[in-house]
Symmetry: C2
Subunit: 377 residues, 2 copies
């Protein structure tokens, strides 16, 4: 699983020792403040939903398209059964290493197409907001590192960044678009979950808690309470595990979805496991609901969550960045999928079931927490 990443050293790059990329964003220590609340977003998008006479399938796609499901847009093309699958996303810095931030942003953008079972991305565009307050030197050093991280991750995914847009902004932003032209038959529709299906998750939860905890280690008034719950070494381990996962493409997880007859999937990001499970439930064709029993969590992050009520980890609402895929499989195939993932050195946990219901999702009372220990040394 590789070894620890050393922290980004601004001095080694000729920058001031106090330079921190994460200063160029919200100061909300939990890093969740930049998402437009989900209910407001849905209200804003409401008027797009009944945009002329659409077929039920188009309505489903429309729902999928607007972040309620997977945030991918799917448009059938008038060329031999091909579809245009696209997504866009952008982010504020959550780690101080600009190269790693670029990698995370790219992996997260691609995650949306992987959630549709689409493995080949034909093109990426990069969106960059360069902080106004950056000195010339900071701009010359930091921005190319972010761009390189983004580009290298795109190349790793077998695609290429061919364009984009760069503007000045008060905060730093990085993101982009991922586009695929693929046979419609290769898309895993998200809305086919059936009663009796099993829910699988492919990355542990708790990424944002790990990142926040590590930031708190350098804030004396935060550090004291934190250290009563967890050691600095455990925080560092959790942080390394979080970064490892955020940089990991969901491509392998996605590549086995069709093989094991996946009935639908979404990727876990800013609304937390339950927020995204709710969105996926909402778009189902059958009258089903999702019940989540198990929460795979980066080791010891549950202790932090228990000490700070603002992290709604056990309620399912702790935001993730570049999280795993949540996939509904027929029961037997779920087990085979997890076994195959394990064989490939990738992770996957059975976390819940699909039951009869009215398209909602819940985390059961007292879910079982699966502590995910890191192998990073």
């Amino acid at each position: 699983m590789g070894s620890r990443r050393s922290p980004f050293d601004p001095v080694a790059h000729g920058l001031d020792k106090d330079f921190q990329l994460t200063n160029y964003t919200f100061t909300d220590p939990r890093g969740v403040g930049w998402k437009v609340p989900q209910k407001d977003l849905l209200k804003l998008l409401d008027e797009f939903k009944d945009d002329g006479g659409k077929s039920a399938e188009e309505m489903m796609l429309q729902r999928t398209e607007f972040g309620i499901g997977s945030d991918c847009s799917v448009k059938p093309l008038p060329h031999g059964g091909l579809c245009l699958v696209e997504t866009t996303d952008f982010f504020y810095p959550l780690v101080d290493d600009p190269y790693v931030m670029g990698q995370i942003a790219c992996a997260n953008v691609l995650s949306d197409i992987y959630a549709m079972g689409v493995l080949e991305c034909d093109n990426m565009l990069m969106l960059l907001g360069v902080p106004q307050r950056f000195s010339d030197k900071e701009r010359e050093i930091i921005i190319p590192l972010m761009m390189r991280g983004f580009r290298d991750m795109a190349n790793m995914a077998g695609t290429k960044v061919r364009g984009g847009q760069t503007v000045l902004n008060p905060w730093c932003t990085i993101g982009g678009t991922a586009t695929s032209v693929c046979p419609g038959t290769s898309i895993v529709c998200p809305d086919n979950a059936l009663v009796g299906d099993v829910l699988v998750l492919t990355k542990p939860l708790g990424t944002q808690i790990a990142i926040t905890a590590r930031q708190w280690l350098s804030i004396p008034e935060k550090k004291k309470k934190l250290n009563a719950l967890i050691t600095a070494e455990d925080v560092e381990r959790a942080y390394q595990e979080a970064v490892y996962n955020m940089c990991k493409l969901n491509k392998i997880s996605a590549s086995l979805m069709a093989t094991y007859n996946a009935h639908g999937a979404t990727d876990i990001t800013g609304f937390g496991i339950l927020g995204h499970a709710e969105n996926l439930a909402k778009c189902q064709k059958e009258e089903v609901s999702f019940a989540i029993h198990n929460l795979p969590v980066i080791a010891r992050m549950q202790h932090i969550a228990k000490g700070y009520s603002e992290f709604k980890l056990l309620q399912g609402y702790s935001p993730e960045t570049s999280g795993g895929l949540l996939i509904a499989f027929p029961r037997e195939q779920a087990a085979s999928y997890c076994k195959e993932m394990d064989r490939l050195g990738a992770s996957a946990w059975i976390i819940g079931i699909v039951e009869k219901g009215n398209r909602t999702a819940r985390v059961i009372d007292k879910p079982r927490v699966i502590e995910v220990n890191t192998n990073i040394t």
Copy 2:
């Protein structure tokens, strides 16, 4: 050509009378401060250019892709001669009417694919930055208006917004992506200009000067000097003409490019007519240069430009938003194109020539200014 738009009335929408969308961006009165300087941008993009062994054609596309030509990315697909053509762009508010701002943003995003002669856009995604400082009410009123403007313009262009991303940001941003899957043969390559060709422009220059002048009318210390150069009525006319043009799709201009054998084109935006002409010249296959003799300018904007040295209008560097297409045609066809555009009620001016040279562009000393009077009443 239609009638005047009334100014946006915040009170009629239940907002404070002092609400101004243009307050949620840079305070630089010329509105040009948010572009990363072109030379810095090129330096940043440098490392993307020699990204592995590319064919000459790919190199051309790569150059085109990174804003040096048209900011469109073009990727040949492994499906029957199809290409994926994509662009992305986003903007800060430059007019106070949120619906109009949405329209302008959408027209400007689409402009890049029109510059490649691509007329059908298969899909658009919308990118929104909602100002943190917006009250709930402001968010509920302003954002849907912007979204509606963007969507309506997309529909007018015969395409549809199927997804996007919305986050909070200090400033307001609106933009998006435009994607087309089209036969490679339908693309007008930008790099075929020949000695003897003629340069055509399809919208008048001076949009940002008009917008800025109108803002100055409400700033007493600015107004006095301005009024010595131009009447308030002329400013209002110019503003109306600017808004009309920024909201106008370049689709008709693009639809005739292939018919009249265009040798290359780009759209005019933030770097001004000369900045974009330089980019287009740089990517040419032949050893040619562009000489611009005529500058079609919104009526009386040249008087403002002469009074304020910061507007580099006559030097060719006054930034435009959602500007026209700059197209190189064989001489006879250029005249026919302009005639046909005129017949369709659209505008087009012959502004310069293609001569032997080393892929540069210039505005001649003392260019002729063509005063473009508005028909808006």
